[in-house]
Amino acid sequence: MNDLDLSRELTTLVAGIPGVVGVYPAGPLHRAVGLTVVNVAASDDQAPAKVSLVRDKEKGLRVEVAVGVLSTYPVPRTLRTVGDAVRAHLDAMEHDGGLDVRVTASHIETPNPAAPSLTP
């Protein structure tokens, strides 16, 4: 499996975790832009690839995931669930060297309640 397919797999995996409302392009801008370009070129039936993968011969595989979390789910617990899921997925595959998984909550989505009354 190439890294683009792996990124797609991980994006789909993370997007399905309870409390996750979005997966955003992660990593330095140029990599995120690169993934976006690939996504635009991909056919509609292909899942987006938003998880950043960087391979380093010495340091191993670095995975960066940026998610949006629904505020009805505690952010720390949701991030741990995402980290565990990504780790388990990668452990089931062969990869050389070390592993460095970074999961960031970049947006906490609060359900917009009915407008609160401003009058006392």
Binding site: G22, Y24, P25, T36, K50, A66, G68, V69, S71, P74, V75, P76, L79, R80, G83, D84, V86, R87, G98, L99, D100, V101, R102, V103, T104, A105, S106, H107, I108, E109, T110, N112, P113, A115, P116, S117, L118, T119, P120
Partner: protein
Amino acid sequence: MAMRDDQEGDVGPEEVLDGLDPEFLDGHSVEELSDYLDSGRSPRNPDIENSPGCLIALDALGRLRSATWAMLEAEAAEDRGRDDKWIKNVMDNISREARAGRDIPITSVDPEVRLTVTEGSVRGLIRAAGDGVGGAIVGRVRLDGDVTVPGEPISIDVTASGVFGRNLLELAREMRAVIGASLREHTELNVTSIDVTIQDVHTQRTASTEVPR
């Protein structure tokens, strides 16, 4: 209560959206986001919807509009310089605070997994909690202290405006309570103080005639 001495030109709330730094919003201006909200976020703009900064700003703009836009427009018509300035400050702050900022660590038991939450998302969380208190509109949110180091003492500084007739001490107390609860649930910050400053009060006449109960 803070004093405001600026008297700006004869413009309404929409016009004061101009001039904000789009760098904070991944190349999009608050005006663009405002138009996008007007369109019902349709057709979907993937560039905006994939930007956490834009999403944080859209959340804040949506709340501001749903709860206060009519009131602010009415007040702007009554005393334009006063409220244009206030609205512009809120918009500036929403734009500035939406940037990712510092990475705030979350404990991970796995040494190969690092977990963080962005400062921008926490500022958005605080703003949402404060805006959710009836009678309050958050103006600015600031996290003081080194949020990147676990356990460091952090103080939260929030400014807001209140509606005339509301007990301001009670309003500030409610805001502190909900903000504290949100931060305890969603972060591991060692919050040592939450300071809420009510800087403005909106008039009773406007509140009672322009905002439906």
